[in-house]
Amino acid sequence: MRALFDLFRYARPLALLLAPWLLFACAAEAPPPGEAPPIDVRAEPSALRFDPQTKTVEVSIVNHGTRPVPVSGFRIVGNDWSSFSIVEPLNPRMVQPGRPMRFSIAVEADTFKGPEHAIESIVVDPEALRADDENHDHDDDDAYRDGDAILAFDVAGVEHTATLSFEDPSWWWTVALPGVLKVHLLVLGFILPLASLLLWQERKQSAMMQDRLGPNMARITLGGLTIRLWGLLHIVTDGLKMFFKEDFVPRRAHRALYTLAPIMALVPALVVFAIVPFGDALCYDSLLDVVSQADVDQCAAGRGGTPLQIAKIDVGLLFYFAIASLATWGATLAGWASYNKWAILGALRASAQMISYEVAIGLTIVGALLVYGTLEPHALVHAQLDSAWGIVLQPVAFVLFFTAAIAETKRAPFDLPEGESEIVGYFIEYSGMRFGLFFLSEFIEIVFVSALVTTLFLGGWAMPLGMFGASGFAAPWVAQAFFTVAGAAVMATGFAVWRASTHATFVGGAMAMVGALHIGAAVYSLFTGWGTELPHVAVVLVGMLTWGLKVFALCWVQLLIRWTLPRFRYDQLMSLGWKNLLPLSLANIVITAVVVYALAAARTITPEPVEPEPPGLGSIPDRAPIGAPPSVEPKAAP
């Protein structure tokens, strides 16, 4: 209640600050009243991209307006018009809103082969031809040259176009360079910062849950200014402590394996992130343009852009199972190589626990795979966006998977391999940064479990209910509702933080300002209808931010679980894994399979009604479509 009061108290000066800007913006962008709804027909994707591997590209003519519009006169013009062709003959037709017209365009890739000059003209002079042939580097003969053309069509008599382009980009530019950049963006920009933040958050959050203060003493003093930031600097002090502590190796330890074990724990935890999509796709050429989902799909396929996922491999989730199981090696090797009976007990428990939960974790996912029909995480997220999130369609699998995944991270309530009170753990002999690597990999696994649950069950980078698509919000009112609710929540939290904290009030103040900007955006959208068409780069950033927030929220939930529940006894842990999770996940698979099969059968028995092709439009002047046989008018019988 106090937060609401503060909201109103501080909202007035903020509104006064924002008002002139808002009024100006609204006046500038308000649509003139009393105009007929505009015709808005587009080809999606608006730029069709081909490469030697892609022979055909599907294109849709989508009507974004409110009334049906005649579309006719499909033709291909431009430099390389002869290399492209429309696959099926197209008749002019009315395109209804919400019922896109789909067809494909094919390319003859071989026409782009060879040196460019050979196509330009026929060289008549044989001497020149021979000289040219000698000078020419024949290694390039197999290379493709770039080509482009234009797909044109008439919408109610007005010409619309979409560009066609063919190129054979080098491996460096399509795979290597974006891959390296994405690895750095994800690992250095998200995983490691979040994992180090979790080192602090675990201590602080547990303190807050247990009415304690938690870490708050690390500070930097610059002159008279003391920076403490709720103990955030403990991340730095912890790191320094780890680095400068004695690096101890027990005398009878196996030195090589003892050194290898922390690396074996850390590397798989980082490698599995390769399959996690942290956004849809980035199109290089249209960062500031409004793009459609079809454009983004094209970029996700690697043509003109890159998917925001390090490795888009078809066996994605199998790759995860393969690599995640390797993480157990770290614990097992550490325990064995330490030459310590407590360590080897911890290692045995770790391996037994991993085997139990690996089975359950694999089987719980199968239900989701049956529903969505793919193993590839990027496609899995798209399948969720087309139907519903995994948590709605597979709630049992969600609970089972989350449980098994927490067990996989070897943390409470499943922290049997560690157990401070009995065996200290498989890392009992480790000190310094070797121990730090185990510690860090544990937190990286937390982040990964959150990321995987987000991908499988929480719709990845997408906002709920399809409210935010490839080109922006689904409708202006959605944007207004979102900005109002989000802004109010952020502002209220900001004021609460502001009041609660005795220092660093600027964080609360900044949150309040961000919330106020949200409210301002809502008001702006209310007057101008802004929000449905955002630049591509903004959409990508919003997607990554949504994904990050979901992952962070799940990390928070995992810490909440870890500090709420008591730990299991070892036999209880085993019986939970083998006697509860395994049968339940099997039952989930059977029930899901039956339901999926029944639904598919029902769809086969009563197929969806196919809309008949609308008749040709006699009133519209039309050319014969390219590649179509000359239309024969049925002659009336004499």
């Binding site: 937060a3 849950m209 203060l213 609970v399 500090w563 709420t564």
Partner: protein, 195 residues
């Protein structure tokens, strides 16, 4: 009034057996504490004393009988009150008090030639204070033993212990403070000693 036996059903319900409702209740409880402590002024239910923070006087929070680091009290002429009776070193369970006696020179009492307390061994039980017959040793400094660089620095001798000392209002021989009109005033830092 009849005594009745209340029977508690120990059967596990279906909700108990799947754990989840109980787990959710627990999560709600801890989450409530989390948000209360992070988002309300004065940190909600957190009662931690901010020891070492600027502006926080730790002595305000210590009880009257808090046992801090030792001190040796003075006589009116500034010499040590201790008569080297060995009561404290005898009663000490940690055996951390070492006293060597010498003749005081007034033909009445002994005095410690050396009085050493190893604060690293001390278990802060306060028996030495209880045992002292002449109010010579006290633990009412309200100070913790400071951290030291070497073990030797934590072994306090007579000089160190008397630095923190003050005059005791007790009269040698144990007759009491009202024995004489010109009884010395107590150190104002230790007001509560007057009682």
């Amino acid at each position: 009034m009849t005594i009745t036996v209340k029977k508690v059903s120990l059967e596990r319900t279906a909700a108990d057996q799947v754990f989840l409702p109980a787990i959710l209740r627990g999560l709600v409880t801890t989450a409530r504490h989390f948000f209360k402590n992070t988002l309300t002024k004065g940190m909600g239910d957190v009662d931690t004393i901010r020891y070492g923070e600027p502006g926080v006087n730790v002595e305000d929070y210590y009880p009257e009988r808090f046992r801090g680091v030792h001190r040796l009290m003075h006589r009116e002429d500034g010499s040590v009150r201790c008569v080297a009776c060995m009561c404290c070193s005898t009663v000490c369970p940690a055996r951390c008090i070492y006293i060597k006696a010498e003749d005081r020179g007034d033909d009445e009492e002994k005095a410690p030639a050396s009085f050493v307390i190893d604060e690293l061994k001390c278990v802060v039980c306060g028996f030495c204070v209880e045992a002292c017959p002449c109010d010579a040793i006290r633990m009412d400094t309200k100070m913790h033993m400071e951290p030291t660089q070497t073990r030797a620095e934590a072994v306090l001798g007579k000089i160190d212990l008397m630095k923190r000392g003050g005059q005791s209002v007790a009269v040698q021989g144990g007759i009491g403070p009202d024995y004489r009109e010109d009884a010395p005033k107590a150190d104002p830092r230790f007001e509560h000693d007057r009682r």
